[in-house]
Symmetry: C2
Subunit: 120 residues, 2 copies
DNA sequence: TTATCATTTGATCATTTGTTCAGATGATAA
DNA sequence: TTATCATCTGAACAAATGATCAAATGATAA
């Protein structure tokens, strides 16, 4: 029996639920990778890029003109999206054509749109 | 025929693609709401919360203990998730029990996990 | 080689973000 | 009423973010 000094100071109510949550939790690494994925899609300009690439391949110049920011900004964003396997590129001479990397991206966008349009 | 001074200064290559992208683009409002949705899921701690609530209802105290931050921090995060209809709450006396608001959330997480585990 | 175009890189900076703290609010029971 | 617990709110601040600029890289053609 723990003395009063050693007792947990927290006010938490349901120790069993906390334990269950901890048991079923994603491991830190996977949790952070998933957060990075969602965060990458959570910027208005990056989302515009992904939405546009869902229809057609586009190069950095095109995207810069479309979004209304510098080509440098687009390049920075594309690097991030590439590292997360959200987009892939194909070179044709000096031009890099970007496209979505796989179907998950458009699926995620489709689901999110459903969520937005259904409630409220 | 425009004089050299009046010509477009941009280096963009495919005006047709830029036009198509602009035509099919989401309107600003919807684009920003979707970005806000993904951004909300793009923080490691908020994602832990959502993942935990996918299994069971939990109150603010529980989540604070589980995540390892103050109850205030959890409350701030839950407010944001509530505003986006990602979580909903149920009062039982002084305690608020939080749960996922609808199935889209767990679907989004499931898809993201698939993406992470498939490539690389 | 040189010149040009498309893209990338690194530095910089204003803005945004997530947390904590202190105090307020709201419900319950004595 | 008063006391207590669970939650919320707003201010403050360090850390992360997204954009721009300037310069570097890489491919192509003269």
């Amino acid at each position: 029996m723990p003395s009063p000094d050693e007792q947990c100071q927290c006010r938490c109510i349901h120790q069993d639920r906390i334990t269950l949550a901890a048991d079923k939790a994603l491991d830190t690494r996977e949790n952070e990778r998933m957060a990075a994925l969602f965060k990458a899609m959570g910027d208005p300009n990056r989302l515009r890029i992904l939405w546009a690439l869902n229809n057609q391949e586009m190069c950095v110049c095109d995207l810069a003109q479309f979004i209304g920011v510098t080509e440098s900004a687009i390049s920075h964003q594309l690097r991030r999206l590439r590292q997360l396997h959200l987009v892939a590129s194909r070179r044709e001479g000096p031009v890099l054509y970007y496209r979505l990397d796989d179907d998950h991206v458009s699926e995620l966008i489709r689901l999110a749109l459903q969520h937005l349009r259904e409630d409220t």
